[in-house]
Symmetry: C2
Subunit: 308 residues, 2 copies
């Protein structure tokens, strides 16, 4: 009842699947999202309206968005890279658009083939075009460091956040794109972010990867500072191009399990989620990094004979 509320954004079908090599059939995506919709997530990042050539895995964005059932209370958000993507997202009635740029000049140029100012300009046009019709959030890549440039100053991250806030976006997601964040840094950036905008309607989200094993420690650190929204991917899918074999996004079921054990209310029904998570290795064709499907919940007791 009076438990502090945390909001989980499931990104497995976008950020998770994007890195997978074998195409996941459209009906399987739709079925998964429909079942995720009944697990109690605040948001589901369904897909991305990028070029089918750039990300073939998500070439069925319209079909997926058109095929899913919309459960009231769940925000169905989509990644949108540009104006064309925004038109496509509006055509299928996305609840929200998530635009992306990097706070690192090198990473933005590598990843988006343009400088940060050009990205800001382009995204400003998307906001001008679509911002009155749907809420828009901005994902700032490399907010906790750039794999090419290294440290990104907090002032730099918040400078870009502030410019987007000035354009009226509904939220900013601080992304640890390649898993470089550590808990002390997370605490500082969370404090700075909440100082910049403490409006209860404004959505600060943190997006961690577990690349170096610190994903849940970073989540803990953020929660301690008052961050209440997190992106995560079922199974911990979604790798990092620099770290083959390393884990991906923080694992939704592991994250929910930790937060609920701590007495926080995520709204997510872990039983239903675990059923889905156990089917994920078969769906993607390989083992996944998530621990809970191997270890069970801390409340799962074992008979004594087991050990003797």
């Amino acid at each position: 009842m009076s438990q502090p509320r945390v909001y989980i954004h499931e990104v497995v079908t976008r950020d998770g699947f994007q890195m997978e090599r074998v195409f996941i059939p459209t009906p399987a995506k739709i079925d998964l999202i429909n079942r995720l919709s009944r697990c109690g997530f605040a948001k589901i990042e369904v897909t991305s309206f990028t070029s089918p050539k750039a990300i073939p895995m998500l070439r069925d964005a319209e079909l997926v968005m058109g095929g899913i059932e919309r459960v009231p209370g769940v925000v169905y958000t989509v990644l949108v890279p540009n104006l064309r993507g925004a038109e496509r997202a509006l055509d299928v009635g996305a609840d929200e658009m998530n635009l992306v740029m990097s706070v690192s000049e090198s990473h933005n140029r590598s990843n988006l083939k343009m400088g940060r100012e050009a990205s800001f300009e382009a995204l400003s046009k998307v906001i001008a075009f679509a911002g009155r019709r749907v809420p828009i959030t901005i994902s700032l890549s490399c907010s906790f460091g750039c794999p090419m440039e290294g440290t990104v100053p907090i002032a730099e991250v918040l400078g870009w956040a502030g410019r987007f806030i000035g354009l009226g976006v509904s939220g900013i997601t601080l992304c640890d794109t390649t898993g470089m964040a550590h808990p002390a840094q997370v605490a500082l950036l969370a404090q700075a972010a909440l100082t910049l905008n403490r409006s209860p309607e404004f959505e600060w989200t943190m997006h961690f990867h577990n690349t170096r094993g610190m994903g849940l420690a970073n989540t803990l650190s953020a929660v301690q500072q008052g961050i209440v929204r997190f992106d995560s991917a079922m199974g911990g899918l979604g790798g990092c191009p620099y770290a083959p074999g390393a884990t991906g996004n923080i694992c939704t079921e592991d994250t929910v399990h930790m937060l609920e054990a701590m007495g926080l209310d995520t709204g997510v029904r872990l039983d239903g989620l675990l059923t889905l998570a156990r089917e994920l290795p078969a769906l993607v064709g390989h083992e996944v990094p998530g621990q809970l499907i191997k270890a069970g919940r801390i409340t799962d007791l074992h008979p004594m004979e087991h050990l003797s």
Copy 2:
């Protein structure tokens, strides 16, 4: 210089190897410990003086203890289950003995084939026999929960700790034997422990497993409360019998990397440790859970071409 100091106890050759199926040759163990000795660990738990039938992997305890070089400043500790083990440990000149019992009656009966009072009685005799010759620490299994009984009350854990403190032990290790701890619980138990005994000479150690992905979050939570000693195993070796495929002890290199990134001084030279950790999969014959050997340090930068 004025960085807060954290002390890392490397347990890979005892708790890590104990779970391995294929015998690791004595010279390989000695070589590994000799190289670990030069990495800056506060303690190395070298081996266990248990029955060779119970744990065949550690049947070479005398040979290993007799064969290693002792580096000044490193405490070479050994696990001792009973009086016979204590005699063997004294014979080879162990710096410290680590005795074990469980704070869960069911787990103690399953694991040690006797009740807790009988274990306390037996360990009291070991302390009476050896306690004037070497420092003795007590590892309390299931301090964060029992896989058979579930929750173990803090008062129960600290009751056993207090009885051993009364016998003059030099430290207590609170063990999360099957990875059931969560950060809120860790904070409470750490606070209670430091209230029970805040002497700077007394060593409270926490021993976490990453079974459910919370190992580093629990470490963070403990550090925040003032716990400065941690057991960890290189590579994250050391599984849990209830969770095949789940990760084991918290991974030393991942732990050191996080703590050092946060500005804490662990005394451990991460470069040397990473060299050893990269050889570990070949030594044990399988992949290990540690992330850092796959992902590299957060300070390892990449050229731009990598992404474009």
